[in-house]
């Protein structure tokens, strides 16, 4: 039940963000707000990615997660292919985990 309510609340805030400006805005967003919104995705993704790779499931230390992240970073930089980032990242994680064990 909580999962369902969470999903519906996610849907509600997302719709409010997407429809709010269409409904209410009669002029441009203030330039500073607009510039700030440009940086929000970069910042929030980085804030999720770094601890997500380094700190979750620490039974193997941060080494394998760090290597997975660096390999993923390289693939993302060269290919912009998110699926390849996932596959190479997880493969690298296990490679270092097994090699390190």
């Amino acid at each position: 039940m909580e999962a369902l309510l969470t999903i519906l609340a996610m849907a509600l805030v997302t719709f409010a963000i997407r429809f709010g400006p269409v409904l209410l805005l009669s002029r441009d967003l203030p330039p500073l707000v607009s510039r700030w919104l440009h940086y929000v995705p970069v910042a929030i993704f980085a804030a999720l990615v770094v601890p997500g790779l380094l700190l979750t499931g620490q039974e193997a230390g941060i080494g394998p997660g760090l290597c997975a992240g660096l390999a993923g970073l390289f693939v993302a930089w060269r290919t912009h292919n998110t699926l390849l980032v996932i596959v190479v990242g997880i493969a690298t994680y296990w490679l270092f985990r097994i090699a390190g064990a």
């Binding site: 995705p41 970069v42 910042a43 997500g52």
Partner: protein, 246 residues
Amino acid sequence: MASESNLSGRGEGVEGRSEGSPASFRAGLVSTLALAPGVIAFALVYGFAARQVGLSSGQTWLMSLAVFAGAAQFSALQVWSTSGGGMVVLVTLVVNLRYLLMSASIAPYLRGLSRGRRMLAAFTLSDESYALATARYAAGSGSSAYLLGANLGLYFQWGMASLAGALLGRALPDLGPYRLDLIFPLALLGLLVPLVRNRISLLVAVVAGGLALAGSVLLPGKWYVVLSGLAASLVGVACEVRWKHS
């Protein structure tokens, strides 16, 4: 002629408020076919990964149909198992703030439409269909029908492939020990890297990552995600203002 509308949110002088025809709606739909392989693969991974954090197939599908925001869905799932619903919603909100920009920039083009159509166009807006439609407007051949076609094409792809991914996840055994939770940060890494286009965005990413690491030790729960994200994005604006005026 439609004026160029880009992410800076400027839509003044818009004369191309054409509603378009069924043909432009179809053109919008068809234009999303080129994106289908990427969208479908990403949605399959989403559906599969959502099952791994414990969502049912129905919940997984509902999230795609009701929220329809890939990056936010991956972000929400990354914090899902360790946070309450309020934090999941807050992370969703911050990840989706960028839609304020897109919505503001298409608002002038939708003014002629009925309330219902405008709601539909806003509800199904996505990064990809926004890019397709604004490119059309910039070329002078844009219309709200084209935008709606592109929106709905992507909505259909995302919805169907999410369901397929969830059913695939149900068919497979529990893969918990294989660290498939790494799918979430890795997927977001794939979305992050193309956004790092200059020195300031690189600085923002580094500051956000560093603050998040420190915050994960110092702050309760997942507050570090939201707070370091907001702080680092403000650092970006501050740098921009400072460097522009120095």
